[in-house]
Symmetry: C2
Subunit: 478 residues, 2 copies
Amino acid sequence: MSSPVWLTSVCHLSDTRAEPLPSQIYKDLTQAIRDGRIADGDRLPSSRSAALALGVSRTTVTAAYELLATEGIVTVRQGAAPRVIAPDPPGVDPRPDQGPDQGPTLSKRGITLSTDLRRQIMPASGGALVPGEPDETLFPSEDWARVLRRVSRRRLGTSALYDATYGVKALRQALRDRLAADRGVHVEADQIVIVPGSQAALALLSHSLTDPGDIAALETPGWLGARTAFLGAGLRLAPLPVDASGADPAHFPPDARLAYLTPSNQYPLGTRLSLSRRLDFIARAKAAGAILIEDDYDSDFHWSGRTIPALAAQEHGGHVILVGSASKALLPALRIGWIVVPSGLVGCIRAAQRNLGIMANVHAQLALAELMSSGRYRAQIRRIARSYHHRVRSLLDALATLPEARVHAPDGGVQVTLQFGPDRDEAELVSHLARYDLHPARLSGYCLNGERQGLVIGIGSATPDRIERLRKALADRF
Amino acid sequence: MSSPVWLTSVCHLSDTRAEPLPSQIYKDLTQAIRDGRIADGDRLPSSRSAALALGVSRTTVTAAYELLATEGIVTVRQGAAPRVIAPDPPGVDPRPDQGPDQGPTLSKRGITLSTDLRRQIMPASGGALVPGEPDETLFPSEDWARVLRRVSRRRLGTSALYDATYGVKALRQALRDRLAADRGVHVEADQIVIVPGSQAALALLSHSLTDPGDIAALETPGWLGARTAFLGAGLRLAPLPVDASGADPAHFPPDARLAYLTPSNQYPLGTRLSLSRRLDFIARAKAAGAILIEDDYDSDFHWSGRTIPALAAQEHGGHVILVGSASKALLPALRIGWIVVPSGLVGCIRAAQRNLGIMANVHAQLALAELMSSGRYRAQIRRIARSYHHRVRSLLDALATLPEARVHAPDGGVQVTLQFGPDRDEAELVSHLARYDLHPARLSGYCLNGERQGLVIGIGSATPDRIERLRKALADRF
């Protein structure tokens, strides 16, 4: 099956069909697998050769393959052709005996759970301009080390040993105060659950609040972590397209169980969700009995005036769950995040958290509590926000010199997105920049159907010389 | 449905039926729910009144209810009668519209995932003699605080920021050396994945290596965390009864996908798995294509001679995955555990871990690496082991004065188990001891079918005066 020519006999793409192209490919391949025309273990052609054979963009093929991977029908691995896993005929063991020497394999759930979307669209961490990575030099390491030493000499008492798996009280109280003062969200400390970061929060919530096959809506383009968390929980994904007012509630499926939103700064476009849309989303969530997960990941970094209250500050009847973390303001290495849970769910979420073992280090929690309650956390955020805002402006100034570049000045956030149309080749541009050792991510990778092209530029590593290098490297293309 | 008399018209228990009593009750209730004789939302009688009505022990009813809870057919909540969740007729939405004011609810998976077995058999943490809680005063907090301060002043570099979600290299190397020297396990540092503790390890492995409905075998009596992790992953549980040679491989189901074992010190009985059984388990796992999870949780605390190598030290062809943690030797608050993964699975397990967000604090990892590589970790373990061993001997001496008490001197571990027959009332005995402010756990709670009675006594909090108080409190019963 290595020659992609057979694909044209399987996939009959047409403008007259109702579905978009990726769905057409997905449906035709699924049918062929069901028919036995494509067998278990067969390899599909690479996205590049499939795109050539079918006369579509590579992005379209990638999107189709992702749909198949979501359903566990193919495995997609970096650097290898996707391999087909045919659904089992009834009554047959899904794991054929492979003999004692093959060693154990992943389950179907495990294959979905280990989806690696990041690797497909960005290089390993540490590259210049890779999005999502804060500047470590802004971390107040001396202050942190001092506080950490002090708190780790304390006797914790048994409650901090095993029992308070959902977080130490001092941190939950400090967060309660901070959420009320800075985000307009008024809750009890007992509603706050401490986890090792936003990703843990999304995994915990999606596993606790949904069943496999449920529908989760999420922004497109949107944060990859939400997509992998939802795929890992076996959910079907529904796209919420984003425009200048943020995600569009008109696309909220009436039977959705969850929706993932970044209302303060849409990730990665940097737009803010309008008030009317906020209210619309809440109304739809109430009608559907669904939950909106508000990722407040970098609400501290606003570039267009005052911070506005969180979505969770609206009356929402328990239908909004706020998620936040210290990863952007301090350091991802601390592995501290938080969830604000409706009071009726607190006991269950705590138990599920304990059973999943997603607990944060206690000394780091105590140190963060001290920084927050002493006001140093807020001072740190102001300092880091000034620095990031300066870089965003420099980057925007540099990009403004390119006559054909369309750059939206973000309302906030720690990345800048440069968008362009289908007349440009995103993959080629990324390769071009890699030769300058610059590694922004591909915007299409953040889209559920690869529907937009562009570059997502991280500002954590955007030093003046890198910004200048980027400008030069882009100058002969824009 | 509050009067339990109707139960006798639903459940027809008999010695002539093939299944054990809990399975009979489970089957009859499931049938009645399918028939519609018991409706969605109905409450089942309490285990106490059901036991009276059916003429069986309360333990039997509890076991039956747990089976129903495992399948998501009833919800069991502390202090409330179990409530029936009827399976959905096809085509009907599983979540009836509850109106906008009810707020969100847990999903069926969430209900299973939030099973709280601990609360049913032991008081909140911090009680005297509660098992599983180490003595915080043995933690070398001054040394830890000093090292922690030093490592947290270091620049971590981007690899420790986001990318090394599977653990910092220094710790994985220190663990590799330690596993080779102390446990006879020779692996690459890249096979080691760092997580926030044993529970996280079990959750990650059970979600990655199984599909819902797969069979997981586990020791009975056995560690509750394994049971909740497997229930949370939607697995069916198969019992591995334990005797003086450890878990019995004759009960290993040929279609099992996973098995959970504590070969060094069976938890909570403290027996060691014999060599012949070790080899037997490995042979059966190979034949079944299954994986044995070896929980090496307190292999450092051996009371009967030299530590023997881990099960993973045997030739196992990738069918043994070793799990360990620093919780017992240092402090659970650190939230550091590790998994030794077969090399073929490393990439996938790392990706699944990242998607679930179960990552450990980086500074604590660096501090532990330094303690391990400098030899202070081993010295600390020797010190703590001497102290625990002293307490175990004192406790055994005190219990030896009770003529009717059957106490097995454990080969290791940080708890001592006192067993007794059905002529004694375990629940009454636990209440009796609670009046002395002593809170050992009920052995029946660690059993899949409540088949044994006894007390599991934690030695982390076993001070001389508490041991003496226990002896006195037990003297009028044994």
